[in-house]
Subunit: 340 residues, 2 copies
């Protein structure tokens, strides 16, 4: 069977298998509804490091260590690792990987990075360019706030549509020759950039929803699928505002997404109790939810088929200062539980 | 034949073919020794745009347009595009690609991005996940200076080991089913991060040279090759300082690299006449040299086999402020001319 499914989609016919996964989050995430499924919850947001940025690298290190431990392997058994994060020049990932000796391919997909790294690791395994590949990403609330908006100590007022960057990391190991019990990747859809002109840097959900719509629609079209073919259509961090827009866009097409839609940004916090306004965001939001709650539920037989769609807002503070709107992108990866 | 060559290297046995390539540079680069081989030289560094950052996006647009025109194709005939740049959040690439509708996978490999994008596009074609894939990157002197160091108007003094960020972009189109006259990719080596503790952010060449050494050595070891198997061993932007370190490291191993070593950073400017100190740098340095001088020389039969190794310094201004050293990474792609 061909590997190109037409349009923007590809088939991973060799079924790259998720061998192990792990998630590490900060204190606030550990007080949220998904707490039971994380591998490690920090006592604070520093993880014993002198800066938030170093703490972010440390979370990636811990997620990689937990995943490796579950798979029973060393760093030298990982042929390629795909990772990226939100920090300028992706220093969260590169300083984490500095001493590992793992062949490293750096990505920048903003909050779409978990899906991007997963699909590229999937290609590496499916095409037999690697026996074992890793996908990883992270974000940190305090590091993101001071880089993208204001230092926390400034005490800026948050808008109702603002989202709360998740302090968290997720890491996945893929391998060829399935045979274990892990879920596997079956197909993926590569997103194109969609920009409907949203200029409010405090409303990322609205900026990213059209990209999620575009990619999910392409996935259905390219592979002749419908929402009913998945137990869950998972988005990364659209939050409440973006999720509503996404479901409305599909509703206008006569497609009801709502019943199967799951947004990691809406799930990871109890928005009211934890005062996060429109929900969680950041690469670490979808990464820790996928590598925590979602994959554990798949292993438990709760979900058999999910479409994991992480969305990224491709802005920078400078592009906003120069009057630009916020382009979005979304990549989708289909994950099936063994036997389905 | 297997696709994994052991260690960090992979084989691209389906010979992804370079269908077309193009380079666009600024005025200063157009006054340098490689001027005759660029597709377009700007009259200034603004390319008709209101900011340097928008000018960088415009250079990528132009490089993509030139490459597409040579291949006689539209944006809709590109199945995947891999791109990244040095600007925070890689806005050079994402704003360039915003209106193209091309499935886009963003990368961050600092100045290694031309090799990283090329090897990933190579995997996409070789593994038949795409019929046509593009690799692209850029950098801009003025945008990089104000982001990484000081705004130009500050008039900061440059150190002798400082390099001059190239204002330029390069774009390559790869396709499957070779048959044309273009060169093709035969193998690649994925770099791991190497950090020997260099802390001088004005001496990127010294920081990156050990990564180049590590990857080139891995390439030789994994594929049982020697420098004599290539007409040129090309590095991206080590400059004079880094190039000397690289050749010294090999010399200590009893391997003479000097005669076959070609550094894009040393070649793109006349260092003395153009006052660029240790040479050129930036993603656009190796991108415009590969997609200008080097591939044109391969087409002309001057070179038959080159190993293209672009190096990246994975620092950020913030990591430097936090006292960190400068980790380097280098990816290598072997390019053969048809018939060799």
């Amino acid at each position: 069977m061909g590997k190109q499914a037409g349009g923007q989609s590809i088939l991973l016919t060799n079924r790259p298998q998720i061998e192990a996964f792990a998630s590490v989050v900060g204190k606030k995430e550990g007080e949220g509804p998904l707490a039971a499924w994380f591998d490690q919850i920090g006592e604070d947001t520093k993880f014993g490091q002198p800066s938030w940025e170093k703490a972010e690298s440390r979370m990636q290190e811990l997620a990689l260590e937990h995943a490796r431990r579950k798979a029973g392997i060393g760093n030298d058994q990982i042929d390629m690792l795909f990772a990226g994060d939100l920090l300028n020049q992706c220093v969260g990932s590169s300083f984490c990987l500095r001493d590992t000796g793992i062949p490293f391919l750096g990505l920048y997909g903003a909050c779409s990075t978990m899906a991007e790294s997963l699909l590229l690791a999937g290609i590496a395994i499916d095409g037999e360019y690697a026996s074992r590949a890793a996908a990883m990403t992270s974000s940190h609330f305090a590091g993101a706030e001071r880089q993208y908006r204001f230092p926390l100590s400034y005490g800026g007022q948050r808008t109702p549509t603002a989202q709360w960057t998740v302090t968290g990391a997720g890491c996945l190991l893929l391998r060829k020759n399935p045979g274990g019990k892990g879920p596997y990747l079956s197909s993926a859809t590569i997103g194109r950039i969609v920009d409907l002109g949203v200029k409010d840097a405090n409303n990322m959900g609205a900026a990213m929803a059209p990209a999620a719509y575009d990619t999910i629609l392409a996935h259905f079209r390219d592979l002749s699928l419908r929402p009913e073919d998945y137990d869950l259509i998972v988005t990364g961090d659209l939050g409440e505002t973006g999720s509503r827009i996404l479901c409305d866009l599909f509703h206008k097409d006569g497609i009801e997404l709502k019943k199967r839609h799951f947004d990691c940004g809406c799930a990871i916090f109890d928005a009211k109790r934890q005062d996060v306004h429109a929900g969680g965001s950041g690469c670490g939001c979808s990464a820790s939810t996928l590598c925590g709650y979602l994959l554990r539920q798949m292993q438990a037989g709760q979900y058999h088929r999910i479409l994991f769609c992480a969305t990224g807002a491709l802005l920078s503070p400078l592009s906003t200062q120069q009057g630009e709107s916020v382009p979005g992108v979304c990549h989708a990866v289909a994950i099936h539980a063994e036997g389905y």
